[in-house]
């Protein structure tokens, strides 16, 4: 479907650019700043391999004698390690960059997964209605009967149980993406279903249906572009939630292994050393995580207010 959005989107983007949206974006200094920080952080983590002063994955480059060094401005800090080193001698700044990359990657892919599942099911439920609709919505309710974190723990547990123990590290990232992605589709489905039910009755849908276009085409080519607004808002807000869920699962010990750490893993490992004075191992990744989530939240929040103030 690459040509479909291209077909319908320019006009939409033009509309957006001239709309309140752009104006309100520029009017909100906080949002601009937040968007800027978020973009910088995401860019820095994407380019981690280029920017990071060290490669924390290269075991041969790590020297155990460099472990537990404080940040450069503290006594005993070294210029090679701006933010200090962790318990096995990895550069904190580099692990944060690589860790953010991991966190953002898991966050984005799991949101994408939720989005695809949720939008598809929502479109089908809203457009087709009937039994299919009932099944999908009951399924959604079953899932809503449990808090996200528990659902994620459940799915995580199932997937980990299915994978043999020696493989768990290899599939940890996939397991996280699936468990977070599968536990968050309901919001998308509900929003899309509601919008679809409204759109279904619109004249343009009736019109294309009369021309003889099939339901799949109607759903994805005609209805979908018109429900993109709420989807984008939910996706942005879910991104920060997904990153936090990843961090929490890693904190509870069912996340990414410490050989390929995410921000959550770094914080988790670092807390062992917090009370003993090596605060930098926890605080810097913690600050990075909070900043990332905060800025994404700010952008999402503004987007919600600007696009659709009533969206719950």
């Amino acid at each position: 479907m690459p040509d479909t959005p291209a077909h319908s989107e320019p006009s939409r983007w033009q509309r957006i650019r001239q709309s309140d949206l752009a104006l309100s974006f520029l009017a909100s200094k906080v949002t601009v700043a937040a968007a800027f920080v978020a973009v910088v952080m995401i860019a820095a983590s994407v380019g981690a391999a280029l920017i990071a002063p060290h490669n924390p994955y290269d075991m041969a480059a790590i020297d155990i004698f460099d472990s537990m060094l404080p940040p450069v401005w503290e006594d005993g800090g070294e210029r090679r390690f701006l933010l200090g080193t962790d318990s096995i001698g990895r550069d904190i700044l580099s692990t944060i960059l690589y860790g953010s990359r991991m966190s953002i990657f898991i966050g984005l892919t799991s949101v994408a997964l939720s989005l695809v599942i949720g939008v598809t099911l929502g479109l089908i439920a809203g457009y087709r209605g009937g039994l299919l609709d009932s099944i999908i919505m009951r399924l959604a309710e079953v899932q809503l009967a449990l808090p996200t974190i528990l659902v994620a723990l459940l799915i995580n547990g199932i997937l980990r149980a299915v994978a043999p123990p020696t493989m768990v590290n290899d599939v940890a990232v996939l397991v996280l993406i699936l468990s977070i992605g599968l536990s968050n589709w309901v919001q998308f489905a509900r929003a899309v279903r509601a919008s679809t039910m409204v759109e279904r009755g619109q004249e343009y849908v009736l019109a294309v249906r009369l021309i003889g276009i099939g339901p799949m085409a109607i759903m994805f080519r005609h209805i979908l572009p018109n429900v993109m607004g709420p989807i984008m808002v939910i996706a942005t807000l879910n991104l920060s939630g997904a990153i936090l869920t990843e961090a929490t699962l890693s904190f509870l010990g069912v996340g990414v292994p410490s050989t390929r750490p995410s921000l959550g893993t770094l914080i988790n490992v670092g807390t062992d050393y917090l009370f003993s004075g090596a605060w930098w191992i926890t605080i810097f990744p913690g600050a990075a995580l909070a900043l990332l989530v905060l800025t994404v939240n700010l952008v999402g929040d503004w987007l919600r207010d600007a696009l659709n103030p009533t969206l719950g």
Binding site: E141, P147, I149, A194, M197, T248, V293
Partner: protein
């Protein structure tokens, strides 16, 4: 009416069954409980013997059926690790979790609603914007990090508050319930964990109330009320807030459930002797009876709360009643 209620009940039972099945399926295969009970030098014969006597060699459906039929009678088995009935284990920890969760919900409501009303009414005010920004900071800090930082500051550096546990507790209601509200050390112990747990919920309540306020303020009847010349205060509190509260109350009910679930993290950070910590420990110890019982219980809370909420909505909102007849209660 009866059709609607019975429909909802059936649905709830279905949810419970699915959760039970998933809980059982999930944890039946995570690690090997035997491995947790033995040491490096356990002999194969010993391991085989334990497998046999624990019924782990039975087929999965047999194990599941044994579990379900016990659970329905309130018998969740005896914990592998603690060697005590799971029901007792949970009952002993229930008060700790409920007091923590209850206080947190209370805090989040007492702080969240006024802030939400304020930010809703003064949407563009400086303070309101500041509060909104602060609330975002609140939701952006991971619960576990917040808890650890609070311990570091108030327990380790300042030495003001205890870093773990419930302090002294008092048995009340004939020993059925233990409470930390009646002793100084119990109250002191509640401060940090309840703040940790409440922060996220507070910001949620505040943002929700604000959103509802904004919504209601745009509604026609508010405009009419204003047009009728009613005072701002009357409009705001008699009409706007009142209409905001129903969804808010509902959400608070649901919050209680999610607070209990989120308490897993807080309890693990503060060594709070509650159900969440029991659950986490049971995951680490592959204590299947405890894990499944906990999940079923949480699901049960949620289902009951959901059911009550739905029925309350149903009795209040006539539109739902009309919808229910068409089998479309959840548009």
């Amino acid at each position: 009416m009866i059709r609607y209620v019975s429909g909802r009940l059936t649905q709830s039972l279905l949810v419970m069954f699915i959760v039970a099945a998933v809980a059982f399926a999930l944890f039946g295969f995570v690690g090997d409980p035997i491995r947790q009970m033995i040491t490096e030098d356990a002999s194969q014969a010993e391991i085989d013997r334990l497998r046999e006597i624990m019924g782990l060699n039975d087929s999965v459906p047999v194990q599941f059926w044994r579990y379900i039929s016990g659970a329905v009678q309130g018998d969740f088995g005896v914990s592998y690790h603690h060697k005590r009935p799971v029901g007792t284990l949970i009952a002993e920890r229930l008060p700790a979790t409920f007091e923590l969760a209850g206080l947190s919900v209370l805090l989040s409501v007492v702080i969240g609603i006024p802030l939400g009303v304020y930010t809703g009414l003064h949407r563009h005010g400086r303070l309101a914007r500041g509060l909104m920004a602060a609330s975002l900071v609140g939701v952006s800090i991971p619960t576990f990090l917040l808890g650890i930082l609070l311990i570091y500051l108030f327990s380790v550096i300042l030495g003001w508050l205890p870093s773990f546990g419930r302090g002294e507790t008092v048995a009340v209601l004939g020993g059925f319930w233990t409470t930390g509200f009646l002793t100084t050390s119990g109250l002191r112990s509640l401060i940090l964990p309840s703040i940790t747990l409440a922060l996220f919920q507070t910001t949620m309540v505040m943002r929700l109330v604000r959103a509802e306020m904004l919504d209601v303020m745009r509604a026609d009847y508010i405009k009419f009320a204003r047009a009728r010349g009613l005072g701002t205060r009357t409009v705001h509190f008699r009409h706007a807030l009142k209409n905001t509260l129903m969804p808010v109350v509902t959400v608070i009910g649901l919050q209680l459930g999610s607070v209990i679930a989120f308490a897993i993290i807080t309890e693990s950070v503060f060594q709070w002797p509650g159900m969440g910590r029991l659950f986490l420990q049971s995951i680490q110890q592959v204590d299947i009876p405890v894990m499944s019982a906990y999940l079923i219980m949480i699901a049960f809370f949620f289902v009951v709360i959901n059911l009550i909420t739905d029925l309350a909505y149903y009795s209040i909102d006539p539109r739902l009643r009309a919808g229910a007849l068409k089998g479309n209660a959840h548009a």
